[in-house]
Amino acid sequence: MLKPNPRELLKSSFKSIFKNKTRTLLTSLGIIIGVTSVILLISIGNGLKSFINDQFESLGSNFVIITAGKIFNEEGGFNNEGAYTTFSFNKKDVTTLKRKLKNINAVIPASQSTVKAKFQDTIKESMLIATTTDYAIYRKQKLKQGRWFNESEQKKESKVVVLGSKIAKNLFQNTYPINKKVSIGSANFKVVGVIEEVGGTLGGPSFDDYIYTPLETGFNFMENDGIQSIDIAVKNKEDIALIKKETEKILLDSYDEDKFSVFDQNKILSSINTILNTLTIALTGIAAISLVVGGIGIMNIMLVSVTERTREIGLRKAVGAYPRAILLQFLFEAVILSVFGGSIGILLGSIGTIALNNFFPAKVTIESILLAFGVCCAVGIIFGVAPARRASKLSPIDALRYE
């Protein structure tokens, strides 16, 4: 049987450590900072991931998306060059897809162009998206004011627009925008609706800054009449893979495979998650360096403690402590120091995450807490072994004689 029993050993180690509270706190500071940073960074990474997932969900699922250019690289990440392609689809492609694909709800083409929108003296840069009425239905566009353009306006190529919430606010300030005219290029467009706020897009252009107009109307005012992307709204989620394949086949009849990309939302999500995971791991790794520094601090203080308490070690050995009991006592002390720091770090990291959540998506997970706790125990053991071994190997008589 282990003597003293682990409970007694823990009690004894706690007493020794908390005899000097200031030293304990200062020694644990490295671990506190390290764990707080690790928890915060993992929380931000997790928060971003779930934020992006939610955003995708809110934009509607069950889509096969076709874009001009090869936008994914072989590793599953994004291909920068693909984004700058001059290639575009045409109306015939849309008709062919509509005709050949089965089990779909809609084929939704979209053409986009950067424009300057003007209302009275206010001019704002925006992205004009020329699309169809189906976009509003399947991309779940919720309107704050007014309505989406209708079939008849689409057919008549009416000069009507639906504004994103931010561009509407920037252009109209306190004026009610519905039925007002906005100048885009040389023409005036009637505002028929304003979309509800979608929220941030993490650095990319915000959907709230977009202006939507019927496809044909857009072609009349854009410099090109090409279609840069086509969304296929699929009836059942299970059919996505098959429809993706069929779509590729149809398009390959007309174009080379490097001219376009066919993917679903999961592909984008997994690419974004790959990037986020890499970033989170890299940043957490950098933060973890401070855990190593904290561990060295613990080892340093434990070595000092062994020297300071040499006579105590001698006494304990004289009254019957086995070398292993001394080793375990000092090892427990190192682990307690580390876990104490880690617990404060977890607490501060969690509080920090809650505070950060007001400005930025962040989410503490039980996995990150367990990871931080495990790392703290490991740091305590790794950096506590050397001082503990030194203490256990002291000869009782040399230790008792130590001045």
Partner: protein
């Protein structure tokens, strides 16, 4: 009385080759159960080395130490620790109490490494402090005690595991004469109660209070 401790041809040599010196030379000694033995001698005579070897804190270079019929030279470190815990109680000149730790916790320190159940520790500690008449200072730390009181706590600690032998190394060395006398009185009382006491002192007047006095000089027993 049965022999409790026996040293057979014990030699302790320090250093190597050119700097070699014998702290103890061929010591033969028998101590019976219930004896009060004092070991005295001038400074550097080897009395502390002898006490460390008797207390199993140090190994002899040659020879045997037989404690309770066990040849300790054949024991491993853990077995020696267990024997120190059960059979020996130490009283040091410097008291060696843990600072910032109460008298009671200092007293029960050896119990941490014993087989005595934890729930009995406190009760036994109080009993021992009562025995050395310092029960009322159970919660005081060493800094709140006088030298004499600290040594009493150290004696209570030495007694806690009910060892056969109490080894006292200059127990009055850091005390005033009155406190010193009281400590010796306490040791005498413990001897009368059946404990074997081995007192190491350079003070001849204290050494003479023992039933048997062993004088050591240049590492050898003189009588």
């Amino acid at each position: 009385m049965p022999t409790l401790l026996q040293l057979k041809n014990v030699t302790k040599t320090y250093g190597s080759q050119d700097t070699k010196f014998d702290a103890l030379k061929n010591i033969n000694l028998k101590i019976d159960s219930g004896e009060f033995v004092s070991i005295t001698g001038p400074s550097g005579s080897g009395k502390s080395t002898l006490m460390h070897i008797i207390g199993l804190l140090d190994n002899p270079t040659s020879g045997k130490v037989i404690l309770e019929n066990k040849n300790t030279s054949k024991l491993k470190e853990n077995q020696l620790a267990s024997l120190r815990n059960k059979s020996l109680g130490f009283v040091f000149q410097q008291f060696n109490l843990l600072s910032k730790t109460s008298s009671l916790d200092n007293t029960i320190l050896p119990l941490l490494y014993s087989d005595i159940p934890q729930k009995e520790h406190k009760k036994l500690g109080i009993k021992m402090l009562d025995k050395v008449k310092i029960k009322n200072k159970a919660s005081n730390t060493p800094a709140q005690l006088s030298g004499g009181e600290q040594q009493r706590v150290a004696i209570a600690r030495a007694l806690i595991n009910n060892p056969k032998i109490i080894l006292a190394d200059e127990p009055t060395g850091n005390l005033d004469s009155k406190s010193g006398k009281n400590i010796i009185k306490l040791l005498k009382r413990l001897n009368k109660e059946g404990k074997t006491i081995i007192l190491v002192t350079h003070d001849l007047s204290l050494a003479k209070l023992a039933n048997r006095m062993i004088t050591i000089k240049d590492g050898q027993i003189k009588c």
